[in-house]
C-alpha cells in the first residue's frame, strides 16, 4: 500500500476516535457537579422557573436521550448556546478559535525559532557558557508558571517601559480588523496588504507569544541538543569532518537535518501543551480566545461551551497527531507506509 492508502486508513481511523471523544466530552459535563439551570435562572428564581429551564435545556431527560440530542445537534452544526454570552456556541467559536490558533502558532514559531538554534549551538559548544545559559533558560521556562512570566513581561514592557501595548485584545483601539480570510489577523493583514493592522497585530501578539513560546521551548531545545550530540558523534559525521568538509555544512547540513526528525514528534506534543497553556496566557493578556471562555463555562457548568471546547481540543490533537505521523513518514525515508 502506498502513501494514499495509508492516508485513507489513518483518516478513517479518526472517525471512531472522534465518536469516542463525543462520549467523553458529554460524560464530562454530565458527571461534573452543579446544575447549569440554577445558574441560568439567577438568584431570584423559583423552583418552577428552574424546572422550565431544565426542560428547555433537556436536563430532565434520560442520559441516552441527552447524549443523542447532543450528537445529533453536533451533526447539524448546533453546538448549543452559551449562557454567558447568550449566543450560539458556534458563533462564539468562529470568533475565538482564530485568536487561539493565532496565538498557538505564533508561540510555536517562537519556540522553534529560538529553541532549535539554541539546541544546536548548545550541542556544538557543549559545556560552554552558552550551553549553561541555554540550560538555565530551559529550566526557567519550565519552572516558571506562564501566568507569572506573563505578568512579569507585562509589568516590564507595558507598565515600566511602555513599549508593549495594553493587554486589551488583539489590535489597538484605533485599528480596524483586516478583511476576514482566515481570522488570523497577522495572516489576513499580510494577505490584504493592510500594513497598519499587520503591525498592530504583531505588536499585540508579541508578549503573549513570547510567554507561551518560552514555556514550551525547553523540551525542544533539550531534544535538539541531545540528538545533535548523538549525531555529531556518529560515524558519518566523523567521516565528513575527516573529509575536510566545511564546519557549517557538517553541522547545519548533515547533522541538523537528521536531528530534526525526532523534533517533529516533539512538536506534536508541544502543540498539546500550547493548547493547555493558552488558557492561562489568554487570561493574563485578555486575549479573546477560547481560554477564558472555557474557564467561565466550567465555573457556570455551561454544557454547550464545555463540550465544544473539549471536542475542539481533542479534534486538534487527533489531526496534529495525524499530521505528525504523515510528516514523519515523509521526513524519514526509512519509514514505509504499510
Amino acid at each position: 500500500m502506498g502513501f494514499g492508502g495509508y492516508l485513507l486508513r489513518r483518516v478513517l481511523l479518526v472517525v471512531p476516535t472522534l465518536a469516542g471523544v463525543t462520549v467523553i466530552s458529554f460524560a464530562l459535563t454530565y458527571l461534573l457537579p452543579g446544575n447549569p439551570a440554577l445558574v441560568k435562572a439567577g438568584a431570584l428564581a423559583t423552583p418552577d422557573v428552574v424546572r422550565d429551564i431544565e426542560r428547555q435545556m433537556g436536563l430532565d431527560r434520560p442520559v441516552h436521550v441527552q447524549y443523542w440530542r447532543y450528537v445529533s445537534g453536533l451533526l447539524r452544526g448546533d453546538l448549543g448556546e452559551s449562557s454567558s454570552t447568550g449566543r450560539p456556541v458556534l458563533v462564539d467559536f468562529r470568533q475565538r478559535v482564530p485568536a487561539t490558533l493565532e496565538l498557538t502558532l505564533a508561540s510555536l514559531f517562537v519556540a522553534v525559532a529560538i529553541g532549535v538554534p539554541l539546541g544546536v549551538l548548545s550541542a556544538v559548544h557543549r559545556d560552554s557558557l552558552l550551553d549553561h545559559v541555554s540550560r538555565l533558560l530551559g529550566v526557567g521556562g519550565v519552572a516558571m508558571p506562564s501566568f507569572w512570566t506573563g505578568l512579569l513581561l507585562l509589568y516590564v514592557f507595558f507598565y515600566l517601559l511602555g513599549v508593549a501595548p495594553p493587554p486589551l485584545g488583539r489590535l489597538a483601539a484605533d485599528v480596524s480588523p483586516p478583511t476576514r480570510l482566515t481570522g488570523l489577523y497577522v495572516i489576513d493583514a499580510a494577505l490584504t496588504a493592510n500594513g497598519a493592522a499587520l503591525v498592530s497585530a504583531l505588536h499585540h501578539l508579541m508578549l503573549p507569544a513570547l510567554t507561551l513560546g518560552f514555556a514550551v521551548m525547553a523540551p525542544l531545545t533539550r531534544m535538539v541538543r541531545a540528538t545533535m550530540l548523538e549525531i555529531l558523534e556518529s560515524d558519518y559525521v566523523k567521516a565528513a569532518w575527516a573529509a575536510g568538509l566545511p564546519r557549517r555544512r557538517v553541522v547545519y547540513g548533515d547533522a541538523l537535518r537528521n536531528a530534526l526528525i525526532p523534533v517533529i514528534t516533539v512538536l506534536g506534543v508541544i502543540f498539546g501543551f500550547l493548547m493547555a497553556g493558552n488558557v492561562v496566557v489568554e487570561m493574563v493578556y485578555a486575549w479573546p480566545g477560547l481560554g477564558h471562555y472555557a474557564v467561565t463555562a466550567l465555573v457556570t457548568k455551561d454544557p454547550g461551551p464545555i463540550q465544544s471546547f473539549v471536542l475542539f481540543v481533542a479534534v486538534m490533537y487527533v489531526f496534529v497527531n495525524l499530521a505528525v505521523d504523515l510528516l514523519y513518514g515523509l521526513a524519514d525515508p526509512r519509514i514505509r507506509f504499510r
Binding site: 423559583t46 454570552t85 483601539a173 503591525v199 555544512r249 547545519y252 487570561m283
Partner: protein, 536 residues
Amino acid sequence: MDRRSFLKISAGAAALGSAGVRPVRSDAQDKRTLVVAWDTDIDTLDPAQFKAIGGYVTIANCYDTPIAWKVQPIQGKPGFALSQPAQWEGAAAESWAMERDGATIVLKVRQGLKFPSGRPVTAQAVKYCFDRGLQSPGYMRLLFPSLIGVKSPEQFEVRDEHTFAMRMEQPNPMAMDILALSNNAIMDPDEVKAHATQGDPWAAEWLKRNIAGIGPYRLVKNEPGVEIELQATKNYWRPEPYFQRVVLKFVPNETDRVLLLKRKAIDMVVGRPGLSPKNVKSLEGEQGLKVFSVPDTTCHYLAMNQQRAPFNNLKVRQAINYAIPIQALMPSVLFGYATQMKSPLPHLTPGYTGNLSPYKHDIGKARQLMKESDVKTPIPVKLAVRVGYVTHEQAAVWLQRELEKIGFKVEIVKETDATFRQVAIKGDHELSIESWQSWVNDPWYHLNFLMHSRSKFTNASFYSNPVLDKIIDESLSETNPDRRLGNARVAQKILIDDAVWGFLWYDSWTRVMKTDITGIEKRWDTFERYYGARRA
C-alpha cells in the same frame, strides 16, 4: 538551514518585531470617550432575564424605565451622587400621580419621546412592556404578584395616548421602587411583535441580542470577550451626555486591571468587585487616580444551615457569632472598604437598627455558649465558599482559625458557582459564606427573600419561623410608616436573638478612576449609568 539564512531570518523577525514597537496610544486619550475595564459579557439583553452585570449595565444605559431613582450630590465628595430612599424622577414617564390612596399609580408618558424606529412612545407601549413582564419568564413575573399584588394584565390600563395606570390591590410602599427597576425597560411593541414566533410570543430569543427601546446610549458593538461599545443617542430627551462613546473592555485578570489603571490606559474599573479591597488600597494615593468609596447595601454573611445539627442549636449559632473575628477581617481582608454587619438588614435600609446586636469577638463567651449547648466537640464541619470570591476565601481562613478555638474542625471547601448554588439549594451546605444585594432598598423586600420560609432558593440558612413569616406577610404592603419600620425593628430583634446568620459585613461601593472623571452616580441597584459622567 545554514547559518547565513538563520541569521537572515532572525534579523528579519527582529526587524518585524521592532516595527511593532511604538508609543502606546489608547482610547483613554480621546476626551469624549470613557474607557472602562470589567470582566463581564452581556448574557442577554432581555430586560426580564439578564443575570450578568454586562447585561444589566447595558440595559440600564440603553433603555429608559418609566421612572428612575433620583441621585443627589454627596457632601464632602465632589463629583459623586447617590440615590436617596423614596426619591424618584421621571424618565420615559415625565410625571406620576397616585390615586385610591396610592393603590393606583398613574404615569404620564413623556411627550415627543420616540423609539429609534421613529414611532412614538405611548401608553400602549408601556402597557405592552408591563404585560410582557408579567407574562414572560423573568424577574417581573415573580416580583409583581408576590411583592405588589399585581397578578393580571387587566391591572395595567391605558387611559389615553399618554396616560397609563397600574392598579394594585392595595397601596404598596415598594411600588415606585419596583417601577424604577431596569427590568421595566420600555420597548417598541411593534419591533418586539415583529420578532415574536408561535413558540416565543414575547420574542425573548430576539431580545437576547437586540435592543428595542430608547435610552441615553445605544449599543453599537458587542464582541464577547473583547468589548462593548455604547454611543450617545442623538435627539434624546435628556441633555446630551459628555461622553459620546463608552467603551467597556473585557479584562479578565485583576492584575491587568490594576496595571491598566496605573498606566492610565483606561479611565475606570467597574464590576462587582472589579478590584479586590487589597488592590484598591494599593491604588490609594497613586498619582492621577482617585478612589471613590461609599457604604452600600451588599450583605456578606455566614449562612448556618438550620436544618442540620449542630446549627439547629441556638447556642451554637450564638457562639459562632461571638467567634467571628470581625475586628481582624475589617483591616486584613476588607482593608476598610466595608462596614461591620450588625443586623440582617443593610445599614442604609429604612428601619435598620444597629444597636440590637450584642455580638462582638469574644472567644471566652463563645466557648461558654458552646459548653451550654451540650454539643459534643470536636465538631467536623465544612465551610463552603465560591471559587474566585477573594474576600470570602480569605475570610474563610480567619473563620476557620477562630471556630477551631471553640470546638469545630473546619474544612474549607471551594466550589464553582454552579456547584455552590446546587449544593446550597439542596440544603447540603453546613456553613457557607453568602452574599446578597437587594435591588429595592426596602426592609421587607430584603427579609422576604432572605428570611421567609417560602423563599426556598434564597433563604440560605433555611430559617423557618412562623411568627416572622407572619410579620413579613403583613408588612410587605403595610403603608403606615411607623408600623412598617416598627415591625422591621421587631423582625431584626427576632433574627438577631435567633443568631440567624453569622453577621459579617456590608461591602462599600468602590470605584477607582482617573482624577479627571466626575459625575459618577450610584443607585440602589449598584449598576452605573454613564450619562451624568464627565471629564473635568
